[in-house]
Amino acid sequence: MSRLTLSALVSGLIFGLGLLVSGLGNPAKVLAFLDLAGAWDPSLALVMGGAILVGLIAFQLAARRQRSVLDEPIRLPTRRDIDRRLVLGSLGFGVGWGLAGFCPGPAVMAIGAGEARAVVFVLAMLAGMGVFELIERQR
């Protein structure tokens, strides 16, 4: 296994553990966070806070480098414009997120917990991404 493959594997592993520890991996807890008018569980705001605290430092360091520690080009997004696709796509994502309490990361992780419902969600999500690819290729 190459060093790049290994580092991606370890990063994914830590990401998955973070989802489990934080509660973001539990759709019921996600929906309790999104339910402002019900018995609101604000925990997920702190998940974002903890992640961004570490992320701020890491992305500051990354922005100063051309190449990664393992000598890969650092690919940081450069766009700063706000376009219709960004806004409508994100609004649509929130609808899907609110319907089932799953966003992409927790759904992938939950497959490893043996959740059949996560498998169904991920397959549907991949189908949706496939539809996007087909539409894009015809443009």
Binding site: G16, L17, A51, G55, P77, R80, G89, F93, V108, F132
Partner: protein, 144 residues
């Protein structure tokens, strides 16, 4: 608004969040890539040279997290109440719209906000707003 203090888990939420941040830190500093799950998955459907292996490795790592956890301890609750038809509809919507919007909770919410990206701030505000609105509609208007 009533805060459900019995369900509020600030320490594990913050600590788990830091782990998610650490994972994103490792991926950008070692691999030079953004830990955005919808982008990682979507990139598999548009394969480029050298762009498949790390994506699969990252996803395998994510799936192995609960497998490894279960070997040493009881897994935390993963309660999925949505029916299969709702899961399929939600999955399709999340798949299409995260690709149009260029990211999800991880790519825009964690990595993008950490980069202080204005696009990601707008995206995060948008999906939070529609997430709140959707749950409000289902639970308090339609009486889900």
């Amino acid at each position: 608004m009533t805060i459900d203090f019995a369900a509020f888990t600030p320490a594990s939420a913050f600590g788990g969040g830091m782990l998610i941040g650490l994972a994103a830190a490792l991926l950008i500093l070692l691999n030079g890539r953004i830990a955005g799950i919808s982008g990682i998955l979507g990139g598999l459907l548009r394969p480029g040279p050298g762009e498949t292996g790390w994506r699969i490795a990252f996803l395998v790592g994510m799936v192995l997290a609960p497998v490894g956890w279960a070997l040493v301890a009881t897994l935390p609750a993963i309660d999925i109440d949505a029916s299969y038809p709702v899961l399929i509809a939600a999955g399709l919507i999340v798949g299409i719209s995260t690709r149009y919007g260029g990211g999800c909770t991880s790519g825009h919410g964690v990595c993008g906000l950490s980069r202080l990206s204005p696009r990601s701030l707008v995206a995060t505000l948008a999906f939070m707003a529609s997430g709140f609105a959707t749950v409000f509609l289902i639970r308090h208007v339609l009486g889900g």
